[in-house]
Amino acid sequence: MRLLYFAWLRERLGRAEEEIALPSSVRTVGELMTWLGKREVPGGALFGESGVIRAAVNQELVGPETRLREGDEVAFFPPMTGG
């Protein structure tokens, strides 16, 4: 599964994207964030701070209950600040 990161989340994680093999226990966006938050990587703890990180699956904003499927493009990022 392809993960993308943007803005300060990208900087704190030190990467713009990565490929992961999804553990079979992870079925939703929220579960994926919990799993990512437990990894021992710089910035990983940011996923544990509830409500800060937003997610999009296949370029659509989604909530934590959204189910993940093989081949999804999942993006994580801070609250948007456009306009």
Binding site: L4, F6, A7, W8, A56, Q59, E60, L61, E73, A75, F77, P78, P79, M80, T81, G82, G83
Partner: protein, 154 residues
Amino acid sequence: MRERVVVRIESGDFDPGAEFRLLCERTAGAGGIGSFVGIVRGEAGGRAITAMTLEHYPAMTERAVRAIAEEAQRRWGLLGATVVHRVGRLVPGEQIVLVMAAAAHREPALAATSFLIDWLKTKAPFWKKEHFADGTAAWVAAQAADEAAAARWR
């Protein structure tokens, strides 16, 4: 069939006068056109800014902005709408964003203009980084006031 909604995400500058004329041409019968242009300011929180970088999510940006413009078109029965949003590095005084809404009357044109900019600020995948005169840089924090402004339209 003329396009109701025109959306462009680009690094170059735009010409509000040209966008106005194009919107007029494709919206016969409009009684009013509202618009807003956002411009990079030279300071933030009292600190001088030398530049701003607009990061975005290329595969998603245009789709998300188009969905916002089409939502405005439906809610206010717009005859046409144009949204242009720049990305990349901008310096103070440069234009960042343009929204325009054409409707039969002034109320929907102006309400849709406010809606478009409020939702662009909070629901489209853009992130601003400010570069200060002292060489440091910081990501712009999401504003509670912007969330509240966007929530008006729920």
